[in-house]
């Protein structure tokens, strides 16, 4: 029967022992009390005696190795020729050699697998982060408030609950209204439209107003640029103070145009004929607006729009289409 020699625990808080030297070699005869090895702990070096009689048949640890307490490091057998149970040597925790410095990862080649998550910049960089108290941030999220509007409005950070009240007073359109508007202008002769209107008044008993026809022209021009199923065109006539909304005027007969009340317009047409006003543009209005001014026998058509709402390309197409219909109103009917 063989006896297993383990790394002994020589101190209360000892996890490992350093095997300094073997005093016996494989094949040596040992008796109880013989010095088998020297073990070094953090406090001292001690000689460890054999606890069994027999022959050393295996030494499983190298001198200079740090071995966990309790691990089998040698076998003492009754006979000198007993077969080793295993040829494997235990894994020392580390060789006691001067430690090499940790390998340095080249700066130019960051290891993509090692710390990719840590190398990634945070979702919002520190420079963009809005400073806000935990409660104000939570309330803003719950109420769907956009804290960036406070930044745009120049309110100093960090934001607190009190600032949310300020935030609620900033109109939704404020940011858009602040961005610049674009204008394009067209000129057409009044002759064709005047002739068409006179012919129409002869043919049709219930005459649609000129503004109704313009609403139809504008809707037809806006239709290709719009995704919405229905279009509302608002006609304002500052000279008489009237405001009229038309729903999908391009899809109906001119004589049966329906007038809608209080809908959100997709385009506002300012009929400035018969007035000295030559330009109207309201702050905060997000939809395109079209001014129609008459100067002698010329209609001047000015389209004002936000590029966020109407692309320049669509704006050109809209105004071009409107001008064409004014020059050849019959085209619209076809």
């Amino acid at each position: 029967m063989s006896h297993e020699v383990i790394m002994p625990a020589l101190g209360m808080a000892q996890d490992t022992g350093l095997l300094v030297v073997w005093h016996k070699a494989v094949g040596d005869k040992v008796s109880v009390g013989d010095i088998l090895m020297e073990v070094e702990t953090d406090k001292s070096t001690m000689e460890v005696e054999a606890a069994a009689n027999g022959y050393v048949t295996e030494l499983r640890a190298d001198e200079g190795s740090e071995i966990p307490v309790g691990q089998v490091i040698a076998i003492i057998s009754e006979t000198a020729d007993a077969q080793p149970q295993t040829t494997q040597k235990p894994e020392p925790i580390k060789k006691v050699e001067p430690a090499l410095p940790e390998p340095v990862i080249p700066v130019t080649e960051p290891n993509p697998t090692a710390k990719s998550s840590e190398l990634k910049p945070p979702a919002s960089s520190v420079g963009d982060r809005i400073l806000v108290t935990p409660k104000a941030r939570r309330l803003a999220a719950e109420q769907g408030l956009d804290l960036s509007k406070l930044v745009a409005a120049g309110v100093p950070q960090p934001y607190r609950i009190a600032d949310l009240d300020t935030l609620k007073t900033i109109p939704a359109s404020n940011v858009a209204a602040q961005s610049a508007t674009s204008h394009i202008t067209a000129r057409v002769s009044t002759a064709a439209f005047t002739r068409f209107s006179e012919w129409l008044s002869d043919e049709v008993e219930e005459l649609a107003p000129a503004s109704a026809m313009w609403a139809a022209f504008a809707a037809a021009g806006l239709r290709s640029a719009s995704n919405s199923e229905h279009l509302t065109i608002r006609i304002t006539h500052p000279a008489s103070g009237t405001i009229t909304d038309f729903r999908d005027p391009d899809k109906k007969r001119l004589s049966t145009l329906q007038i809608e009340e209080n809908s959100e317009p997709d385009l506002v047409l300012h009929d400035l004929t018969g007035s000295r006003i030559v330009n109207v543009q309201y702050a905060g209005q997000e939809c395109p607006s079209l001014n129609v001014v008459q100067e002698g026998d010329i209609y001047e058509l000015t389209l004002t729009f936000l590029e966020a709402r109407l692309s320049v390309q669509d704006a050109f197409a809209l105004l071009e289409s409107f001008a064409e219909r004014m020059e050849e109103p019959l085209r619209h009917l076809l």
């Binding site: 108290t133 935990p134 409660k135 939570r138 960090p158 607190r160 009190a162």
Partner: protein, 331 residues
């Protein structure tokens, strides 16, 4: 209701309990003939005799060890520690023995022991007799820590402490011994771990212990003049701590200042502030503030000593800064 001083309230609490339970005895330095330097225990030795009101030599570790042994073996001792500063002398008996005996005996032994001592500066007693050391014992599991803030609180908490089967350290504020408060004639006890809301408010929570409760109350008055509504909470016991009352208050007010007379660093204020941060984070509209005693030996110079502890003015100033969003201001 009649009004009595905190001294009288403590005297009454101990007298009533001594009458109720013959296993209770009290010992300490100058407790019998002198009735303590603060005259809190005057008259007890006359009623209960020198066997139950025991004058000891100047030997804190000795009589503290004696008390722990007596508590383990059937008595219910009250140890009178003349100054809280002398806690350093009894730390092994209190923290290694009394606090751990119930646990280490597998529940076979109880240590029904009360250490009655004091805290508080601004009494011109110099650095070795002015400390507020309740954080030392609050740190040790197995010890309960009560901090009465008035005569009413002192009586109710003392009686609960004496009836507790575990070691309790009860700190009285030295400056408050002559302060009067309404105390009912009939018996009452104040349970441990139930905070007291002294004043309701909606803008900021002032959590204040012991001597700082008065400071917080006066700060709340100053703030009310500025139209700031402060809620004042006295935890009464810091071990056990009534977290829920504090957290519910902060969830309502969104802001908190924790005020305690112990040194600010590594102290009670930091512990309570941290729990608020951890458990009410998404209800905070300002950093939770700690206001403790300055991290210096308490000066003997009155002018300097008064600067080392929070005052109603400094608390109110901090509260105003927090309400105004001036988060860089730290009192």
């Amino acid at each position: 209701m009649r009004e009595i001083t905190l001294s009288q309230a403590v005297n009454e609490a101990i007298s009533e309990e001594l009458r109720r339970d013959p296993t209770i005895f009290l010992m300490g330095e100058d407790v019998a003939e002198a009735g303590t330097p603060f005259k809190v225990l005057s008259g007890l030795v006359e009623e209960f005799g020198p066997e139950r009101i025991i004058d000891t030599p100047i030997s804190e570790p000795g009589f503290m060890g004696l008390a722990v042994g007596a508590a383990m073996t059937g008595s219910r001792p009250i140890v009178d520690l003349m100054f809280g500063d002398f806690l350093f002398l009894i730390m092994d008996q209190l923290c290694n023995q009394a606090a751990k005996t119930h646990y280490m005996s597998g529940g076979k032994l109880n240590v029904p022991l009360v250490v009655r001592t004091n805290l508080g500066a601004t009494r011109r007693s110099a650095a070795q007799h002015s400390q507020s050391l309740h954080a030392l014992v609050a740190h040790i599991p197995g010890l309960k820590v009560a901090l009465p803030s008035s005569a009413y609180e002192a009586k109710g908490l003392m009686k609960t402490a004496i009836r507790d089967n575990n070691p309790v350290i009860i700190f009285e504020d030295k400056l408050m011994y002559n302060d009067k408060a309404p105390v009912p004639e009939e018996e009452y006890l104040i349970p441990f771990g139930e905070a007291n809301i002294l004043r309701e408010g909606k803008d900021i929570t002032l959590v204040a212990t012991s001597s700082m409760v008065q400071v917080a109350q006066q700060a709340a008055e100053l703030l009310a003049a500025d139209n700031i509504s402060a809620e004042v909470i006295d935890p009464r016991t810091i071990v056990p701590l009534d977290e829920e009352t504090i957290l519910n208050s902060v969830r309502k007010t969104s802001r908190a200042i924790v005020i305690d007379e112990g040194h600010q660093s590594y102290g009670i204020t930091g512990e309570i502030a941290s729990r608020i941060n951890e458990k009410a984070f998404f209800h905070l509209d300002a950093p939770v503030r700690r206001m403790g005693a300055m991290d210096v030996p308490v000066p003997f110079s009155p002018a300097l000593e008064d600067l080392t502890v929070p005052t109603p003015e400094t608390v109110a100033k901090q509260a105003r800064a927090d309400l105004a969003g001036d988060f860089n201001y730290v009192a």
